[in-house]
Assembly symmetry: C2
Homo-oligomer: 415 residues x 2
């Protein structure tokens, strides 16, 4: 039996042991994990150093090394995040529906754990703790498949989790790490339908696309954000400057930052150069259509690829459009169904845009940067779903649950 | 461009035109479809005859021919079902959540259509009308891929739908039938991620398994039901007889009928032969374990395959177990996560069974035959989901919807 199959089987078994575990018992285990991380701090940092050394030898960029890096503060932050998670409402057991039939049958629809969650992710070792603790809070077992670049860190973190779980009612098999980080183990997970109930990829576009294309296990698609702001004819210039800068520069590396700017041609005639100059001053590389490039020669010509690229950097594609309908068409063609904004004073245009743009979150006169589980007040975030089924947009704890019908009778049969 | 790609592209375009359509307009279109079916009755029956003749030549069984057959009554029933659908609440636009942020941002989570639904199904032409009208009611476009055995009927039904839609605001591309019923077009649909938001298989186990294994489009898994009744030590014999007979014989060909009987060994010692004799008298073939076969020689020995078979016929596997924990293990190993029942007088055993059995619907002292959208009062049923994500159990109209965050601001940016 391969490592993946063996751990899958053990996870399924553990998932049955998690059913019916009280919120208190789950929170107690989470508290022990938080404490263990602090106790093991030196060990975790030492193991993390091995990954950093390997990474440096492999020539990984400083930004990737920074993502892998663990230090005292970051470990404190992980433990603090667990304490916040403990305080969140436990969604398991929530009554979603109650149906009383004339024949006396009582039907209750309740939230239950999903079962076994598979998590495939890149670099950041904090995803190991995040995924493990969110899964346990919702009564799920989890199989973690991190990247080779954080292998020692992930193994150390999971060993801390196991130490913490030893004196709880949660079996250690509820959290398991696939130690073989070869491409083969990822492929095995894609087809582990017998033991996995869902697979969640966390990372770059390539990882997510591979999982969607290859996995026969149901996938929760997260993350990729080719987001736009559309500046309508009547948009207020002060608001435009503020929101466009916020969308592009406040944190360019995240999925809810904007990658494309669509400008009504009339607004562009009046204010186009002013906004382009402002963006240029902030060090943003501009990729424009003909109208943009001819009024602002420092902009480069946008290629077809630019329209669909999530730069995650100080780069921005800029296109002039004839109006809201043009803007909607462009976004529905090139966008990644994440977050899209219209800046306008005309209610009718806002309404058309909000309704017709196909995205998880649509904004009228606000920055796309708000699409976030914490900003929405969910207290935790598994990721941002850009798919239509199960969950869409920022996913809080309920996204890690399923439902089940409990039916109580006194001998009823169907006539 | 292939038929599938061309229709996929047209469906996506049509789905955008369906957004924001009022309930009135949608119901008006549904009303016209119901009327058109009645107007076209003779034509529909004539076209259906072609399928029946082809089927007879191919040697299809009488039960399959009966599933394909359309007559005046069945067409009236289709029209009547549409009238009932018109009366159901439109889930689109429902407010699911409202969040007001301190900075004045207003976040509303609303139900929206999914987009484009792909439906792959077998024999029954009524699925064509069902899928088309349920999709339209929820503002979705649909691509129908029926089987070759109902080809003429399906084409005729879709032509009636198109005639009805001509004078409405719904484009005819909102309902399209794939006319090429070769294996290739099914395969194309499995990978039409660009245009399809979900794929729903309706039919036998093989069809459903193929779709799950091959499709990269998200799937709503429906239908297969290897359901059990567990008779606990304290079960009342009168209740047992009534519920077991109902589960097995009231309609053996449906997914919520039982296929396996698990009997506590103590109960079996006392009442085993009596219940087996009763089942035998009703013409049910029994496949038993050692204890069953030795007390009741007319039972055949159950093979490993019997435990996982959905007979959909007057056959039943019977196994003795040591207690509730044994029963749970057997069901979680062999069941199809559909409907499972315990008959017991002991609350604690009922509670363990209901919580630990992994199924969409779990019953205490009632027949599994109640798992049904109409029985639950949903007024419509897309199918019965046996998966954990998005929808589980009988799926009413909300299962054909997604959600979207609408965010209203006055210039807010993230600090």
């Amino acid at each position: 039996m391969s490592e993946v199959t063996a751990k899958g089987k053990a996870a399924k078994k553990a998932s049955y042991q998690l059913i019916g575990l009280s919120t208190e018992k789950k929170n107690e285990a989470l508290g022990k994990i938080a404490k263990q991380l602090i106790i093991d701090k030196d060990f975790l940092i030492k193991e993390n150093q091995k990954d950093l050394e390997d990474g440096r030898k492999k020539g990984l960029s400083e930004s990737i090394l920074d993502r892998i890096m663990l230090n005292g503060n970051r470990i404190d932050d992980m433990a603090a995040a667990i304490e916040l998670l403990i305080d969140l409402n436990d969604p398991i057991g929530e009554q979603l529906e109650t149906i009383e039939k004339e024949n006396g049958l009582l039907i209750k629809k309740q939230r239950v754990p999903i079962g076994v969650i598979g998590m495939i992710y890149e670099a950041r070792p904090n995803v190991t703790i995040d995924a493990a603790t969110l899964s346990l809070k919702t009564g799920n077992a989890v199989i973690l498949r991190g990247s080779s670049s954080a292998k020692h860190s992930n193994m150390a973190l999971v060993s801390s989790i196991h130490k913490a779980l030893e004196n709880t009612e949660i079996p250690v098999e509820a959290v398991q790490l696939i130690e073989d980080t070869s491409r083969e183990t990822a492929k095995e997970l894609f087809h582990l339908n017998e033991y996995l109930d869902v697979l969640i990829p966390r990372g770059g576009k390539n990882l997510i696309e591979t999982v969607i294309k290859e996995s026969t296990v149901p996938v929760l698609e997260t993350g990729a954000g080719n987001c736009h702001i559309f500046i309508d004819q009547t948009a207020d210039i002060t608001m435009v400057e503020k929101i466009v800068l916020n969308g592009k520069t406040q944190r360019p590396s995240v999925c809810n930052a904007i990658e494309g700017l669509l400008i009504h041609e009339k607004w562009f005639e009046e204010n186009g150069v002013r906004i382009l100059e402002l963006l240029d001053e902030k060090g943003i590389e501009l990729y424009g259509d003909e109208a943009v490039c001819s009024s602002f020669p420092r902009a480069k010509t946008a290629t077809e690829e630019d329209w669909s690229t999530e730069y995650l950097a100080l780069k921005l594609s800029v296109k002039t459009v004839k109006g809201v309908s043009d803007a909607i068409d462009h976004i529905n063609r090139y966008g990644s169904k994440h977050s899209e904004a219209i800046l306008t004073g005309v209610e009718q245009n806002a309404s058309a845009f909000l309704n017709k743009v196909d995205a998880a979150a649509v904004y009228h006169n606000a920055s796309t940067r708000f699409t976030d589980g914490f900003e929405f007040g969910y207290g935790a975030e598994i990721g941002i779903s850009t798919q239509k089924l199960h969950a869409r947009g920022p996913m809080g704890l309920p996204a890690l649950t399923s439902s089940k019908y409990f039916i109580y009778g006194q001998g009823q049969i169907r006539e």
